[in-house]
């Protein structure tokens, strides 16, 4: 599970200008770390002239990422000038993709209006209401797992729990919940990575998603307001004139934002405690460490590898000349391993001081809206796992997602010890 030796060697010797950290295969092998370590040291704001996504800048140090992420006036997320991910085809109608506009891809003032419309769903009062439902479901899922037998944690636990949660937030029919999982996977997929075969297939499936949510929207807008996301959107004055595209884009943001990320934190946490059994023992002996452990899991895993911005004007940044229109990738995965800011960053340490100080949820006006919900789900999961199992053993090589956006797992074979 360590970085392949070939990558460590290549990262050391390759000319700087040939480093391309956007290549998805790096993430299948979990081999990007040594490249980022070199960039942080030798060329922290790095220009890659040629990649599958065109030329782009990489920002790799913790504090530089914070500086870009909080400067939305210069570094825009707006779909009209680019995208918030490196691959334009994920959200824009280019190279086979379709247009999926949403407020993560908007600058103020429109961003603020849309964000405020959905904020109440994750307000603390609403989360308090959800806690007992989440706990009951988590207990139910964990109690149904076989002890002493190998199974895929991703499918049986991570996907199951996050999809149940998402179905609850959206008040989506529970028995159809795996459609949400599928759509979430389809959004960030491109042909050839195993999820979809063609762009046409992707579009077709996303149109089905749109039609399904359109029905729910129509139904909820006729009923009195309820505390689910679709009802909130349907009754929000700011959201009345959403185009079909904006509607689909907003749904997609909530589905992917709340699903892949939390799912992969649930899996990443298992890998972390397997590699650092002493840390699991620490948390087992002192359950008050769980909230801190959750932050550490989210940092260690970094479920969103990068967010991208587009420069709105020529700017000088850390001695580099970034030009209007340039793509700028903030590599959270690198910032979260920045040894200048985080001590022993590659290690998983459940009682790490200031564990909440990480980049996984971003910074600035687009700072993750769902972080408290994600933390709540993870806290409950680990409280219940620690209660039941002396050890969660990873018994085979993890299979990772081929993506430079989502850092996650397809398969994580485990065996539970009573």
């Amino acid at each position: 599970m360590a970085t392949p030796a070939a990558d460590s060697e290549r990262a050391r010797t390759i000319p700087l200008d040939e480093i391309d950290v956007s290549a998805p295969d790096l993430y299948v092998r979990d081999a990007a770390h040594p490249y980022f370590a070199r960039l942080r040291r030798e060329d922290p704001v790095h220009y890659c002239a040629r990649s599958a996504y065109g030329p782009y800048w990489s920002v790799t140090r913790f504090n530089d990422i914070v500086a870009i992420d909080t400067n939305h006036k210069v570094f825009s997320s707006d779909a009209s000038v680019g995208s918030f991910v490196l691959d334009d085809a994920t959200l824009n109608p280019v190279n086979g993709g379709i247009f999926l506009p949403n407020f993560l891809g908007m600058d103020p003032p429109r961003h603020d209006i849309h964000r405020m419309a959905v904020s109440p769903i994750v307000a603390p009062q609403n989360l308090a209401r959800l806690e007992s439902t989440i706990r009951k479901r988590t207990q139910h899922v964990l109690d149904g797992l076989p002890v002493g037998e190998a199974f895929n944690w991703v499918d049986r636990v991570s996907i199951e729990l996050t999809t149940l949660m998402l179905a609850t937030l959206l008040d989506f029919p529970l028995e159809e919940r795996r459609r949400l999982t599928r759509w979430s996977d389809v959004v960030t997929a491109s042909p050839g990575t195993g999820v979809i075969d063609t762009w046409e297939q992707r579009e077709k499936e996303l149109r089905e998603c749109e039609a399904c949510f359109r029905d729910l929207w129509n139904q909820r807008s006729r009923q009195p307001p309820r505390p689910d996301l679709i009802s909130m959107l349907a009754h929000s004055p700011a959201m009345q004139n959403l185009s079909a595209e904006e509607f689909l884009g907003t749904v997609v943001l909530l589905v992917v934002g709340g699903n892949d990320t939390t799912r992969n934190s649930m899996s990443g946490g298992v890998l972390a405690q397997h590699l650092y059994p002493g840390e699991y023992a620490k948390a087992r002996a002192d359950r008050s460490l769980v909230p801190n452990m959750v932050s550490e899991i989210v940092r260690w895993q970094t479920p969103i590898l990068h967010m991208r911005r587009t420069a709105l004007e020529d700017v000088e940044f850390r001695g580099k000349r970034i030009r209007k229109g340039d793509k700028v990738a903030m590599w959270y995965i690198s910032g979260n391993r920045d040894e200048e800011v985080i001590e022993r960053p590659e290690e998983f340490i459940v009682d790490r001081p200031r564990a909440r100080h990480h980049l996984s949820f971003g910074f600035g006006i687009h700072r993750c809206l769902g972080n408290r919900l994600a933390e709540l789900q993870l806290r409950i999961l680990w409280e219940e796992v620690l209660e039941r199992f002396s050890r969660v053993e990873v018994v085979g090589e993890p299979v990772r997602v081929p993506s430079n956006l989502i850092r996650g797992f397809v398969d994580l074979p485990v065996r539970l010890h009573a």
Binding site: V66, D69, T70, P108, D112, R115, M116, S119, P120, A123, P124, Q125, R356, F361, F363, G364, I365, H366, R367, N371
Partner: protein, 107 residues
């Protein structure tokens, strides 16, 4: 260097010598005042720096500003008429002695 007093919901006082030009959120975070996280980096987007301004000081700090600050407070637990986002209070000598109270249950 204005002196700022942060009072937690359990009554514990944290007195901080703040550098001029910092926000009341930054001064708290740099000095490890518990109960102020400043998750969004000071962009009025997360609500984790909510404070109640001691009423004697409201005239100097002013009330929450129209726009993003008011909007954010409207979805923050327990917001009152003396609520502010600490990240939106710029510290100056004028505010030397400022007293801010922290809501309960803010991380």
């Amino acid at each position: 260097m204005p002196k700022i007093t942060y009072i937690s919901s359990d009554g514990a006082e944290h007195v901080v010598d703040a550098e001029n030009g910092l926000s009341a959120m930054e001064a708290a975070v740099r000095n490890n005042v518990p109960g102020i996280d400043g998750d969004c980096g000071g962009m009025a987007a997360c609500g984790t720096c909510h404070v109640y301004v001691d009423r004697a000081w409201l005239g100097k700090t002013g009330a929450a500003r129209e726009g993003v600050e008011r909007d954010m407070l409207s979805v923050t637990d327990g917001a009152a008429d003396n609520s502010r986002l600490a990240c939106q209070i710029a510290l100056t000598e004028e505010l030397d002695g400022l007293v801010l109270r922290l809501p309960s249950g803010q991380h």
